[in-house]
């Protein structure tokens, strides 16, 4: 492996009104390496990427790329110099073929007409070079997310890329798809390409990266070979303090049955689901993406209608199966996607918190500002929601604080059964620990907690018992004392 430096960042700073996003950042990326860039949300990773991509201009500092000074003015400019970014959200035209997408805007022509053969042939060469088992003619809409990412990479490769920047490419992928992506990255590396890789998942970084750079609050913490650090040290570098215990699990006495689900069915995704949830229990639900976990949660909550089966809460059957009925019976759902399902982003923290329990703040059927404020402040203090005041629009809060607002709205109606769907997705390490402590506090208060998660370490660390789902069915159940990642994965993949 060459030790030549491809990219040198020297004293780069960038400020926005009120925030110093990057403060005097300097580090080198070596040619042919996979260089991981990590840090909590707001650490400055995206700003740095946007500077490299020509979207932002740095206030100070210089960059050198393959020996030449680098100051891209637009993403296109960056691409011409050999830097391409693969974003988290895929930007392909679904209706067009892979080949058309790769050469979008630059069709291969002969005599002013599109030369389809040439177009497909050149696209196929790129696909094959990545050992992707794909045909260039098929439409992008038929591809999985990982395959779409490979098309994005091919597109970048077609510009003669030297440095590929990947912004959390694995976040939305299933375990199988992740394997495809990682294999592609290794192929790219073998071809001598340099990759800057951003991820929240430390396991991946240890598997893939050669070097790692940690940012915190816009400052550089350190850059070092991955072999010189361990997981614990990386986390403490990101958070800036030692996290003595990543999972603050406590043993709580398990009480009576709260929720009893019997033979619940709906379509292909919910087949004959039966389980019980007790007071004080944290019940984990594991499974691959698409295994029916979210769908099961929605049916229990009454957001979707069941086809068969019963849901009993404290022995009482839910007959109507509506959200309203579930709320009356103190079932809550903290959905997967806070921003699109959990919050009214244009509303204030206060209005979001009072949304479900709005009857509690009415006086003679009129919204009472004082009662609403008291309710909001109560939860802002109790859950330590970081916000300048209760009037702040919730969209300006960080992911962890937004999640606390969603939870507050359910605690305001004193919910007994709380279903969390991916409670820590997109939340940074420090805030995760706080969410975990809240889960424990709920269990201690005698509530029943269901925790759907794709992160096995978090399930193993937090749940008392784990149900594993596969293709809409429960494929196994295990107490977390006996569980290992391997056992759960085994149940999640086949049975």
């Amino acid at each position: 492996m060459s030790e030549k430096v491809l990219l040198e960042i020297n004293g780069v700073s960038k400020s926005f009104p009120g925030v110093k996003a990057l403060d005097n950042i300097s580090f080198c990326v070596k040619e042919g390496h996979i260089h991981a860039l990590i840090g909590e949300n707001g650490a400055g990773k995206s700003t740095l990427i946007k500077i490299l991509d020509g979207i932002y201009k740095p206030d100070a500092g210089t960059m050198t790329f393959s020996g030449k000074s680098l100051s891209p003015r637009t993403p296109l400019d960056a691409q011409k110099q050999g830097i391409s970014v693969v974003h988290q959200e895929i930007k392909l035209v679904d209706a067009l073929s892979i080949a058309e997408n790769i050469f979008l805007g630059r069709p291969k022509t002969s005599h002013n007409l599109i030369d389809w053969k040439k177009l497909n042939r050149e696209a196929q060469v790129l696909l094959d070079s990545l050992e992707a088992n794909l045909r260039a003619e098929i439409a992008v809409r038929n591809l999985s997310i990982a395959q779409k990412q490979i098309v994005e990479i091919c597109k970048a490769m077609s510009y003669n890329v030297k440095l590929l920047i990947m912004d959390e490419p694995s976040a939305a992928l299933t375990i199988k798809e992740q394997e495809i992506l990682f294999r592609t990255m290794r192929v790219l590396k073998a071809k001598g390409l340099t990759i800057i890789y951003i991820s929240h998942r430390l396991e991946e970084i240890f598997n893939l990266a050669d070097e790692v750079t940690v940012l915190r609050d816009g400052c550089l913490v350190d850059t070092m070979p991955i072999d010189n650090v361990d997981r614990k040290r990386l986390i403490s570098m990101m958070v800036g303090r030692e996290l003595e215990n990543e999972y603050p699990k406590e043993k709580v006495a398990i009480g009576e049955v709260l929720l009893d689900v019997k033979n619940l069915c709906r379509g292909r995704m919910v087949k004959n689901i039966s389980f019980q949830l007790h007071r004080g229990e944290i019940l984990g639900i594991a499974g691959l993406i698409g295994s029916g976990r979210t769908e099961t949660a929605r049916v229990i909550f009454g957001a979707d209608k069941k086809e068969k089966g019963t849901v009993l809460i404290k022995g009482k059957e839910l007959k109507k199966q509506t959200v309203t009925e579930s709320i009356q019976n103190k079932i809550a759902l903290v959905p997967e996607d806070r921003r699109s399902q959990g919050l009214i982003l244009g509303m204030s923290v206060k209005e979001n918190i009072s949304l479900v329990g709005i009857d509690h703040i009415l006086k003679n059927k009129i919204i009472n500002n004082r009662l609403e404020k008291i309710m909001a402040l109560n939860f802002i203090n109790k859950l330590r929601i970081q916000t300048p005041d209760e009037e702040r629009e919730v969209k300006y809060l960080s992911g962890g604080n937004q999640q606390k607002v969603v939870l507050s709205k359910w605690l305001a109606v004193d919910s007994d059964v709380i279903i969390f769907d991916e409670p820590t997705r997109g939340i940074d390490v420090g805030a995760k620990a706080e969410i975990y402590r809240l889960l424990v506090a709920l269990a201690r208060a005698g509530k029943g907690v269901i925790m759907i998660s794709s992160e096995l370490p978090e399930l193993l660390g937090m749940a008392d018992r784990i149900i594993v789902m596969h293709e809409g069915r429960i494929s196994g159940e295990i107490y977390s004392n006996d569980a290992t990642q391997e056992k759960i994965l085994d149940m999640a993949i086949s049975h």
Partner: protein, 328 residues
Amino acid sequence: MDRHQEQPQSRNFFTPILRWFDDYPIALAVIGLCVIMSLISSSFLSFNNIMNVLRQISMIAILAAGQFLVLVAGGIDISLGSIVGLAGIIFSMGMVKWGMAPIVAALLAVFIGGISGFFNGFQDAIVGIPAMIATLGTQGVARGLTYVLTNAYPISDLPESISFLGRGYLLSIPWPVIIMLIVFLIIGFISQKTKFGRFVYASGGNPEAAYLSGIKVKKVKITTYVIAGCLASLSGIILVSRLASGQPNAGIGWEFEAIIAVIIGGVSLAGGKGKIFGVLLGAILVGLLTNGMTLLNVSSYYQQIVKGLVLVFAVGLDVYQTRKQNKA
């Protein structure tokens, strides 16, 4: 970032005023137009002229108040102008042809407006037809019904007893202005102080999150259309008493002016955002614009062009701001 972050260190006398203008940037435009108008015409700032302008805008403003609720809930209603026409005809025919007492005919007209609104809401919320198309359909149906009922002839010989609504005064304030202010107070109260109002904002702001919070989004949305339909009827009734006849062509293009008023009043086309007071300012601005152009002898054809451009400009600004906020 947003304005709440740049807290001014020195809070002086002007701070609350400046913040108020921040919330209602359109107020500046209204004041600006008033200054220009009073320079052009010395009688502009007289009590009579101000009341005159307010009376001119009152019917569009009442329409806009209903449109406001529909837009905040995430819909849009372009059938309101036709409902004005239909309700006016029902009101006139009720009294003249069917021998109803004025109050009964008025209630019937409001009821028909409500039904039209329900039809809109049903198409949008239950069937899932895009609001613009659903209400375009209603626009055609309601206008067509108006022509069928009247054979396109106006209805005249209305009882004298209803003329106060359009032409009368209470303490030298025109009745339409009083009705408009009452409507705005009620809609303002509903939108800011009641559970239903909060649900309207939530349903428009994020229907999925609202649904998962136990809000019956479809019901809320339909209700906003029904209210808008009823208010359009009220507007139609006032127009009939002002003209002393039921015109089958009444209200054509009014939804257009109402939408202009609502959008320049700061209500977002994307739903979930806006205040009724902004809508009132928006309606006043549209009224001043019309009034000013008429004073300047601008032909009504050119006035259409100007209003069209104002609408496009206002929506463009709204789209631009939404995009900017989504980036933040």
